[in-house]
């Protein structure tokens, strides 16, 4: 198993306003020393509630958000210390698919030009070769050649997401960061895009960093999962182990909250584990475990010092009382 991307103690800090003219500047730690490894040809899912730092983690890992500390090794090379031009050259290996297929495509450009643009910017191949490649990509993602010269508004949400995928693939990337790629789509269309992403991963040997709040989607696409809560990974491991026997109480609550066809009102289904309230504010995070105040298992130690990640049932769990 070759490692493609390895993040070590990645931290992201955002500056807040000063308290008064001479007051100290406050900071918000959106990502708090997160480490993960993504192997070649695999998909790592990052799940969590809004505000948990999923997107910021991924953006910092590919240097679209500035990291305050840590290391990101892409094929052994630290992305955070590369010069701007070296990083720009690296970008052809790293591409991105956004959540909203309506705002992520230029409404005034023809879709063939949208798909072609990364190759123009990276000066990949001759102009004629680029045209051929655009046609190949259209076929690969399930669009027709007669749609090449249309504008984005002439496509449905699912088709636009296909255009986004074609654009991302145009530079032959090794890593695709998918930021909630299906959450803006209808369920029936979601399945089309998820199947496409699964097929492309196998055919092209791509690796995904896959951000989603939908556990079913992550279960379907990913090989490994990391669960984030208030800027930290609280549990990570292979997808089967995590879904069959989650060890962290937060993961258990997330799974209990996800709607499922197996949970029937007619059969008197009552949620076994309920989460009340909202996550705490990241501005002054609790000094112990961030989940402690919503956790049914919390003891005094949980509120005093944050738990370190440890192995339990094939998973890495940051909890004093896993299981």
């Amino acid at each position: 198993m070759t490692v493609l991307l390895k993040a070590r103690d990645l931290t992201v800090r955002f500056a807040l306003g000063k308290k008064g003219l001479f007051g100290a500047r406050q900071h918000l730690e959106a990502v708090r020393s997160v480490s993960f490894t993504l192997a070649k040809g695999r998909a790592l899912g990052i799940v969590g509630e809004s505000g948990s730092g999923k997107t910021t983690t991924a953006m910092a890992a590919i240097r679209l958000t500035e990291a305050a500390g840590g290391q990101v090794l892409f094929e052994g090379e630290d992305l955070l210390t590369l010069s701007d031009e070296d990083m720009r050259q690296r970008r052809r290996d790293i591409q991105l698919i956004f959540q909203d297929p309506y705002s992520s495509l230029n409404p005034r450009a023809r879709v063939a030009d949208i798909v072609r643009e990364p190759m123009d910017l990276m000066e990949i191949g001759t102009p004629a070769e680029r045209d051929v490649r655009v046609r190949e990509l259209f076929q690969l993602v399930g669009l027709r050649p007669d749609q090449l010269n249309l504008f984005p508004h002439q496509f449905s949400g699912g088709q636009r997401q296909r255009i986004s995928i074609a654009r991302a693939l145009s530079t032959n990337p090794k890593l695709l960061v998918c930021d909630e790629p299906v959450s803006a789509l209808d369920v029936a269309i979601q399945a089309q895009i998820l199947n496409l992403l699964a097929r492309l991963k196998d055919e092209l040997g791509l690796s995904y960093l896959f951000i989603s709040h939908d556990l079913g989607v992550v279960r379907h696409v990913c090989d490994d999962v990391a669960v984030m809560y208030l800027g930290k990974i609280v549990e990570h491991g292979p997808v089967e182990a995590l879904f069959e026997a989650p060890q962290h109480p937060y993961t258990q609550a997330l799974l209990a909250a996800a709607p499922s066809l197996a949970r029937r009102k007619s059969k008197g289904y009552v949620r076994p584990m309920k989460l009340s309230g909202d996550p705490p504010s990241p501005i002054n995070p609790p000094k112990g475990c961030a989940f402690a105040e919503r956790c049914p298992k919390a003891q005094d130690i949980c509120r005093q010092s944050p738990p370190e990640a440890r192995e339990a049932q094939g998973l890495h769990v940051a909890c004093y009382f896993p299981g």
């Binding site: 079913g216 996800a258 197996a262």
Partner: protein, 324 residues
Amino acid sequence: MSALLDIKDLRVTFNTRYGEVTALDSVSLHVNEGETLGVVGESGCGKSITALATMGLIPSPPGRIAGGSIALNGEELTSASEARLRALRGAEIAMIFQEPMTSLNPVFTVGAQIAEAIMLHQKVSRDTAMKDAVALLDRVGIPSPAERARDYPHQLSGGMRQRVMIAMAVSCRPKVLIADEPTTALDVTVQAQIFDLLNEIQREFGAAIILITHDMGAISEMADRVAVMYAGRVIEEASADSVLDTPQHPYARGLIDCIPALGKGDTALKEIPGVVPPLHLLGAGCAFAARCAHANARCLSEKPLLANHGHHPSACHAVEEARI
């Protein structure tokens, strides 16, 4: 027993630049006291228009109710005066909208907005109404309700705002509560809280709930009965168990099969190819035919009607002819 809310052959049309377009075509739905009816389908299937028509909130023009009836407790709503509708809305029938940010007024405190709804329908003083509002906020699980009642919508999280919407909707103990995708903008954990709250409120007040959603998982957890809509028509209707276990219409089957399950992940998802057709392009045949693997010449030329073909009602020639 007659239904609490009974919609029969409802037809809603809109004037568009493509001419008159039929958004709802002979839609019949009913919901009984204490029951949850799930209405499921993709965007553009007419779910929300059904809800708006029931509330008497179809924007007119361009829209109008072109036929059919909506009866609440035996009272006809389609011919009711605007004054009568205003008296019923909020008191007898209330709605929770999808977007709690845009459906609350940003310049009033949430307490004042709930109190306003109470004062519109009950002869109580502002003080009493405010006290009721605080009690309602407490009931929907908002911590320190007295302080939160003085907050403006932007000071609350999405889940809190949706709770405020629910508090407002149930403030006059309506008999029918319409929830239009109440959790779409929320995290799964908050969605679970809102679903649990709706179920509790139903047990307590005995309200009938119409839950509009595109998620069969939500239907499974919440609904007693399900109506599946496609392109402005009800194409399948039965108990939730019946629809989930033995879906008849290929579209209903597709909606169930395309959900990525929590249990297993290896097999490819079944997909429904294509998209819902624009309403002005609907032809003479079945609106789903272009996306359907079982379509034949009859499907393209003749609209199937909702009828019981053995198991439970569905509108499909292939089911009728026992081809699937």
